[in-house]
Symmetry: D2
Subunit: 266 residues, 4 copies
């Protein structure tokens, strides 16, 4: 099974570049499933029903989230029924709406997608290692094809997580920093790993936000309003993972970026 | 001018892989100057005189540091006289030994190398934006060839810094996360930028440390002793930047990695 | 000289209890100067011109601020001309409006009030130790009567600051935690010290905010809107410092609290 | 039932002042149970068997811990059998030795003592609100007399915790900041609350550590070795809580401090 994983969609700019290139990426690479991180889909902060549906229309099969999950309160209106949207599974057990994983049927196969969030330099959440261990044990009864979106800040937590679950899941794909890393590899027991898949949206912003306001904040610490840099050039960050259908082990992982410095080539 | 920048050397493993490949990298790419981050050179924490000299013998022209600068107290014995070692320039002004930049002569040209540290999710330090602004103004009187090692945790601070100084310095190369990023580019005003150049040392550790202890810490939060993973396979993270000698603008930047998944090819 | 220092005024509740008791406190204790922290005066976040004037009308001589200084953008309209309002002196040097200290004339004497902010578990700012050292040296040319509002989170930074400047300033009064501490004392070289003077406003909120929303955040980490608990019972946190007019040394410091459990007694 | 709660014992200085005054405090106040926080008992970091026994000999009935629980590895040798020692109950469930609460028999009555740790500005741990809710429900089957040592950094988390469990536990006593707060009160549903009971040990150190080294760290951020200030004057921080034996509600809470500025008076 081949899976395409697309990093954090930032606002309308992110939606548009996804709409432009996802069909072409599918034509070129023929993934059986497409996972898209949508935590920044609505104006950079959270996701509303419109953005959710738009991502699905663009071709996403599963939408994952992260620390911005609740930023847009509109999510509470539809997360209960949104079968293709998951939020970190280690959000306060039983206290919040939504689900932390989903299973999708692809021909004869089942693919599990799990969303988890790190704890270092992030808001408190339940232990991702403990929650993942329990959840993966449960999922392994249904499928060996398990992909994790590990939404975390530090490289240490991301590496520790991936090595800890090496051989137990098919892939650990990091999100959150909005910068693609250059460390895609297959760990010894067969788990594909990438610290961060990067962002999909503005190419000349700071993490996708308008530069001037972010820089102002760094220069004088005065509050500013961060807005998605909707007008400029765009980029897309993604990766492609090939799994062995029987063993669930990863056979290959490679990064994809499309932007003015790396134009899409069919 | 072509500059080779090699990411954080981790312990003996890092020294050894540097000694193996730096000569070959020089033969292949012919850089005029080699900058190496040495904050983890001695057992992963700081640098002593022996490790400093060893890096120079291996072929480094300038050694930069970071948050681990003072971890090994032996540095205080030689930093005063170590002309090729710099530590973040925004360490408490006038209160600590060492210097935050250096100028090296390369044929007819002068290259300035500056070391700065970020503040987000890091120990307090002086404002890197303000310090850099003053320092760069001063350096520009002597040369237009200025390379900054910006040692920082978050992608936002790294991007903000590079955009703020776009056109004023030749290159901003990030260090500290120990994971190479895939965002090398030339910003519109001519500054080469890479969020993180990655680490040089163990390939199967966690940020270069032995996995088992780091994982234990994540799993149960009990203290453990982190040691460099000295026995296993190794990797090297670097980048190459080409500068226009007259304007100081960057003409090209590309990442280099050498490891079992990316063997060196001449 | 006797100085009354009143802790962070929270919203209208804080203004009202100040208006009720400040006249009575003055009648009872006869302070020559009243310093009031106003960083939460306008709906708990920042201060606008109306709240500033209201605090002065209530009897404040100097208003100090803290990490909430810029929360209400209205401050930028009047801080330039507000002679009795100071913000932390270690906010990005030269980059932000307002001043970090003020001198007020009291009969034949001059009192300097300085505002500084800590760095541990707070947004980055310039080094409060270095900035204070320079500023105090400058102020000592004009007066020995110097009171510092040190706005900081941790007890360690507050204690370190006060011991470092023991004998150089008359008093270091902590603010920010909104909880009065029980450690008022005179340090050996004559500086009065109190880790935190506490808050002035709601008595049954959480740091003055409505409990239900704050608790919700702790229970499930979902975002909520924090609002000042304006309807309930109120409390006032303050302290009284007596200084020797000639030496500037503190002779006495004692805490004051007025609330349902500690009614005001004349 | 009357309970004496003594704040963090710092090193030998803390042990000695406890040995001096605990007998006198017992003679004066006649508490039925004495709870002592021992996380800093052995040289300021953790606790070994000797310090544990010494605290019991001095008159402690229950020893609580905090973020320093594992600092001294010697604890792992005896925590399994140490019936009177508890560590935060929200340490990684099932992964670490020791227990998070204990029940002690006092004549006809049972007293439960629970230890929990906050998460704001502290290392990750399991959700203290969720863990406490489950644990308290369980304990209420056996007794209504429940005292919680809530070891946390911020006043907001401490206040939120105490209000959330108001009426469900007899008392929430905060520890960790090493500075006694002045907010002892009985909440409306009958829970006694004190944000922080303070420290027991050096009176002229910084949080009990030698000043010079701590100050150095703040001034230039270079690493130093913190040691308990064993030679100087000492202080003791404690509180006294009176509970209704039948309802478990608190009837009274008052702080105690013994130090050069507040000498013990019988
Ligand atoms: Fe995120
Ligand atoms: Fe994101
Ligand atoms: Fe490093
Ligand atoms: Fe570093
Ligand atoms: Fe405040
Ligand atoms: Fe504050
Ligand atoms: Fe402690
Ligand atoms: Fe503690």
């Amino acid at each position: 099974m081949r899976i395409l994983f697309v990093g954090d969609i930032m606002g309308n700019a992110g939606q548009e570049i996804l709409e432009t290139y996802l069909p072409q990426l599918k034509q070129k690479y023929h993934p059986q499933a497409t996972v898209v991180n949508g935590e920044n889909a609505t104006r950079g902060k959270g996701i509303d029903r419109y953005a959710y549906k738009r991502l699905l229309s663009a071709g996403a099969d599963v939408i994952t989230m992260g620390n911005h999950t609740w930023d847009n309160p509109a999510i509470e209106e539809f997360i209960g029924e949104a079968k293709k949207l998951i939020r970190p599974a280690n959000f306060s057990a039983g206290q919040v709406p939504g689900r932390g994983y989903t299973l999708i049927q692809i021909n004869q196969l089942k693919l599990a997608v799990v969303n988890l969030q790190g704890r270092v330099f992030m808001a408190p959440s339940d232990d991702p290692f403990a929650i993942a261990e329990r959840l993966i044990k449960h999922l392994l009864k249904q499928t060996k094809l398990i992909v994790v979106d590990f939404h975390a800040e530090t490289t240490s937590e991301k590496e520790a997580f991936s090595w800890y679950f090496d051989g137990k899941v098919s892939a650990v794909i990091g999100t959150h920093t909005h910068v693609q890393t250059n460390d895609a590899r297959i760990l010894p027991q067969g788990t594909a790993f990438l610290s961060d898949v990067g962002m999909t949206g503005p190419y000349d912003g700071i993490l996708g936000m308008q530069r001037s306001e972010v820089i102002k904040r760094f220069v004088n610490q005065m509050p500013t309003r961060f807005e998605v840099d909707e007008q400029g050039r765009r980029g897309l960050g993604a990766c492609l993972v090939d799994l062995d259908d029987v063993s669930g082990k990863a056979k290959q992982i490679r990064t994809i970026q499309i932007n003015p410095d790396h134009p899409f080539m069919f």
